[in-house]
């Protein structure tokens, strides 16, 4: 009886004062823990993000073709870059991309900010309607592109049908016609991502302290003045951040548009990423497409940095 009491006491002491290896493991120095905790993340990123990126840069200076593994890899210097930048088609793809990015951002900012201002009025069941509005941005872009091809069917699709209820324009071949196809992808992206801009605007609106409006009220500011001098400056950093994120994403846009139009008709919706995929995985021009990838990456990074500078100016 007393024996067991002693052993249980000893056990408890042993448990309370871990010794030996266990002790050393459990009492790693803070620095040791920090590295132990960070190392796997950094290692994974180096292996699957940075190493491939460096490899892409290397391949961009070679004539490598990944469908011919046997052939010798030749260093050809800047020739791939010359080819990419000298190609008129590439400028066409970049124009298509610019059209897509500019129009989606424009429409989404107007709609998103408008919706956020309305939702911020805290009407009844605002939460319910906000949730409904959010749903499209959570969905898989490729699957969204797939089912919009159905909605866009010229004769039987619901999109054309609904438009014709309001305006008698006849069957709309959104995907098949050269004039409409660039807008078909703008519409779907706007449908999908307006909620994102709206959410960030809402976060901005909610960060405005009420006393600013109260002070404006005392100064007899009208609604427009309140919007221009209080609301807009406070929301702008959030709005610009949202545009930065979505702008980068849309510059890289691939999945939704591939499934919706796959770049057609002709190359009217052939965004940079779609052409990149075509060159790399259909024409197997690995070196050439790597050079194009590097150029795109540098462009995104450069534009992003300029934009962030502007953003910081707005913030301060």
């Amino acid at each position: 009886m007393s024996d067991s009491a002693v052993t249980s006491l000893a056990e408890r002491v042993a448990r309370a004062t871990p010794g030996g290896l266990v002790h050393r493991l459990l009492s790693l120095s803070d620095r040791g823990i920090a590295w132990l905790f960070i190392a796997p993340t950094v290692a994974l990123l180096l292996a699957i993000n940075i190493f491939p990126l460096i490899w892409t840069v290397y391949l961009s200076f070679t004539n490598y073709r990944s469908n011919r593994p046997g052939t010798e890899i030749e260093w050809i210097g800047l020739r791939n870059y010359e080819r990419v930048l000298g190609s008129e088609d590439i400028w066409g793809y970049l124009q298509v991309t610019a059209h897509f990015v500019v129009w989606t951002m424009l429409l989404q900012v107007v709609l998103g900010l408008g919706l956020a201002l309305l939702i911020n009025r805290n009407f009844r069941s605002a939460g319910f309607w906000t949730t409904l509005i959010l749903i499209p941005m959570m969905l898989s872009p490729a699957v969204v592109g797939t089912f919009w091809t159905y909605l866009y069917q010229p004769q039987t699709g619901i999109f054309s049908y609904i438009v014709n209820l309001f305006a008698d324009v006849g069957a709309l071949d959104m995907i098949g016609s050269v004039g409409l196809a660039p807008w078909s992808i703008v519409i779907v992206d706007t449908w999908m991502w307006t909620p994102y801009i709206m959410l960030l605007c809402l976060a901005g609106l909610r960060s405005i302290p009420a006393y600013l409006y109260e002070a404006a009220e005392i100064d007899r500011a009208n609604a427009l003045q309140k919007f221009w001098y209080i609301t807009l400056p406070r929301v702008l950093p959030f709005l610009m951040l949202a545009v930065l994120f979505r702008g980068i994403e849309n510059f890289k846009m691939f999945d939704m548009v591939v499934e919706l139009t796959s770049g057609g008709p002709g190359s009217t919706t052939e965004l940079a990423s779609i052409n990149l995929k075509r060159e790399a995985f259909e024409n197997w021009r690995t070196g050439y497409s790597s050079a194009f990838a590097v150029i795109l990456f540098v462009t995104v990074f450069g534009l992003g940095n300029i934009y962030v500078k502007a953003l910081n100016k707005v913030k301060s």
Partner: protein, 327 residues
């Protein structure tokens, strides 16, 4: 500081609610009406796809589009089976259909020849989605804790490096990853896709989780260390339980990304490890007319996310705005 700003925020929120309440109820009503109108228009495509899953193929391409129709499970049957077209004589020679789905298919002069690959693709999506989410959140929590609590040399640079890996266009790194996976025998395997999605998600996970862990007062751990806990024990028993909701929110984000991802899945998988997004467009089948089956597959694929969004809106909201505001 965080608790203080939280109360401040709450206070200003209630003040604002008060001041807005004074604004005209008419304006409020109009705002509600406009938002509801937008929401209803935005939801039409999804409702339409949901309905199309229950149409017969002829109804799905009828003009004018049919709002009222006779519901059928043909789309779902077609989604889960492969069929072949047969002559009337052959079908008659089979005798009466044994099951309701056999009967349904035979009406179109078809015979079921086996299951489709949809279930496989769906299971792949689940395995790869949950596997990569678990890994990203596990590793992300460790890294986020270290960044939040310890002095790490070049901390800001490391954090920026982690974030910047997300700016890369997937296609830009897809070529070398394709070559690398081919060399390592990882192409078209679930393991390869899990590692890849973990790498893509981990940057967001670290950033989100660091924010959540920053909000947990250090005093709790310090008190635990004074009580004889080691750092690791304090992490496990004090920090982890406190960060639970943040970890859950991060996990949802990672899961949604992995569930929705398409570009890598398209380029790096074909037979074995293909997930649902690159597969769903292929359901369209012969003649490109089997829209009900595509709609059925789309519905089954999107439904979990729609439910997630509705049930977990609060956590999602926090994640979305947080990630941005923190940047």
């Amino acid at each position: 500081m965080t608790a203080g700003s939280a109360t401040l925020r709450a206070a200003s929120a209630s003040q604002r609610a008060h001041s807005v309440g004074q604004a005209g109820t008419g304006a409020k009503w109009l705002a509600g009406l406009l938002v509801a109108a937008y929401a209803l228009v935005a939801i039409v495509p999804l409702v339409w796809i949901g309905l199309t899953g229950f149409k017969s193929p002829p109804d799905s391409i009828a003009y004018p589009p049919k709002v009222v129709f006779e519901p059928t499970f043909e789309g779902y049957v077609n989604l889960f089976t492969t069929r072949s077209r047969q002559t009337d004589e052959y079908i008659e020679s089979l005798g009466p259909a044994e099951t309701w789905y056999d009967a349904l298919v035979r009406k179109r002069n078809m015979v079921i020849t086996g299951p489709s690959r949809f279930v496989d693709r769906y299971l792949n999506s689940i395995v790869i989605g949950f596997g990569s989410t678990f890994l990203a959140v596990f590793l992300g929590t460790l890294a986020a804790y270290a960044f939040s609590r310890f002095k790490v040399p070049l901390k800001d640079d490391l954090l920026f490096f982690i974030l910047s890996t997300r700016m890369m266009p997937p296609i830009a790194v897809a070529i070398p990853i394709y070559l690398m996976f081919r060399a390592l025998g990882l192409s078209d395997t679930a393991l390869g896709m899990i590692l890849l999605y973990t790498a893509v998600n981990i940057s967001l996970a670290v950033w989100l989780l660091k924010g959540f862990i920053d909000e947990i007062p250090r005093e709790y751990e310090e008190a635990a260390v004074v009580d004889g806990y080691s750092r690791l024990q304090a992490f496990r028993k004090i920090v982890l339980p406190q960060a639970r909701s943040g970890i859950a929110a991060t996990a949802i984000f990672c899961l949604i990304f992995a569930w929705n991802e398409y570009a890598f899945a398209l380029l790096l998988t074909s037979g074995e490890a293909q997930t649902a997004p690159p597969f769903i467009p292929l359901i369209i089948g012969e003649g490109g007319l089997d829209w009900p089956a595509v709609a059925a597959g789309t519905t089954l694929f999107l439904l979990p996310i729609v439910i997630f969004t509705i049930v977990l809106r609060k956590q999602l909201l926090r994640g979305i705005t947080f990630g941005a505001v923190r940047k």
